[in-house]
């Protein structure tokens, strides 16, 4: 999109296409709209704001415009919508930060992965399921997964791009495989790592990892294991729910106490 003249309104479709492109490329963008103004003609004016390039469109705010763009960028960095108020100018704007859907990677395509995938999709997560068994990792079992990878588990986990929007749940068929995958990702800046396992098993494995592999305790403290919230879950669906509840608790900064904090 080229530079637009200051009084040119940003065409509606251009706004939506830019939002669409940013979503596809996972680029942070915000739509900024004047929601109140002493000059009523300004209400409804909108611009698109990115972190690293000039805004598209113009709000018509004169010298205040640059400050508004900077304040909108601050909201974009915080990744939260913001209502900006400038009482001296009689001005109010809404900064709508385009949400980037969190990505849940379910490692292991067994009986907990299935309901977990469904719950995560309902909660608007992007979901990837990984298993090396095609009879488990297939679209019949995971009809709403965004991506299903049937390949070597450990290597797939190692090569998979992950970032601070990534949530990883380790629920493979075997605990030692879970641990191998854990060691691949433990130092990555992820939003969440959860690993299934009983309290007894987890504490035995973790003390082994600190003692024999020299994994620092603070790295292990990041891992949600035993996984989930203490809601007394028993069936696979209930366990999936307790995992998803923990993930939402992390995602939204809730106040529930995790099973892993009770260990």
């Amino acid at each position: 999109m080229g530079p637009l003249k200051s009084q040119t309104p940003l065409p509606s479709l251009a706004v939506l296409e830019a939002l669409e492109r940013a979503a596809a490329e996972n680029v942070p963008v915000a739509l900024v709209t004047v929601t109140d103004s002493a000059q009523s003609a300004l209400v409804g004016n909108r611009i698109l704001v990115w972190l690293d390039r000039d805004p598209a469109g113009a709000l018509g705010l004169g010298e205040l415009e640059a400050r508004v763009v900077e304040d909108a960028r601050a909201a974009l960095r915080r990744r939260r919508h913001a209502l900006l108020r400038y009482p001296d100018a009689g001005l109010e704007l809404f900064v709508e930060v385009q949400q980037r859907p969190p990505h849940l990677i379910i490692v292991g395509a067994g009986h907990i992965a299935q309901p977990l995938c469904r719950l995560a999709k309902i909660c608007d997560f992007r979901v990837t399921v990984i298993d090396d068994r095609t009879q488990f990792a297939n679209p019949d079992r995971f009809p709403d997964a965004d991506r299903i990878i049937a390949a070597d588990i450990r290597q797939t986990v190692r090569d998979m791009p992950m970032d601070q929007d990534t949530y990883v749940v380790l629920v493979t068929r075997g605990h030692s495989l879970d641990v191998e995958c854990l060691l691949e990702i433990i130092d990555r800046p992820l939003a969440y790592i959860g690993m299934i396992g009983s309290r007894r098993r987890i504490s035995a494995v973790f003390s082994l990892l600190t003692r024999e592999q020299g994994i620092p305790q603070e790295s292990l403290d990041r891992v949600h294991a035993p996984i989930g919230l203490p809601i007394g879950a028993e069936t696979p669906a209930e366990i999936a729910l307790c995992i998803m509840a923990e993930i939402i608790n992390v995602y939204r900064g809730g106040q529930a106490v995790s099973l892993s904090q009770l260990r």
């Binding site: 509606s12 479709l13 939506l16 669409e20 709209t33 929601t35 409804g44 919508h81 809404f94």
Partner: protein, 104 residues
């Protein structure tokens, strides 16, 4: 891009004007979060929800005016009235909703 914007794009591509209602501020307990939106279509083919019930009905009414005049509006949805059998809003909070017409 969220589903409301996808729907908005389709309406605009089909040459239709619609109103977009967005929750821009909340206080107390309210049914939807800041950023939640709803597309209001002149013939009732709405997309999304800003919480349903009477508050939403109020916003839809305001959106009909916005569609007619093209002038954006801010609607304060007050859900703080006392809880009783016939009360409309029992959430306990206040939502501010911005309504704007989008033209192709």
């Amino acid at each position: 891009m969220n589903k409301e914007y996808q729907a908005l794009k389709q309406y605009l591509q089909a040459g239709e004007s619609v109103a977009v209602a967005t929750v821009i501020d909340t206080r107390g307990s309210v049914p939807r979060e800041v950023g939640a939106k709803m597309i209001i279509h002149p013939l009732g083919a709405h997309v999304g929800t800003i919480g349903g019930g009477c508050g939403e009905a109020e916003v839809i009414r305001a959106a009909m005016d916005v569609l007619q005049t093209g002038t954006p509006a801010k609607v304060r949805v007050d859900l703080t009235e006392e809880i009783s059998m016939d009360s409309h809003g029992v959430c306990g909070g206040i939502m501010t909703v911005f309504v704007q017409r989008w033209d192709p």
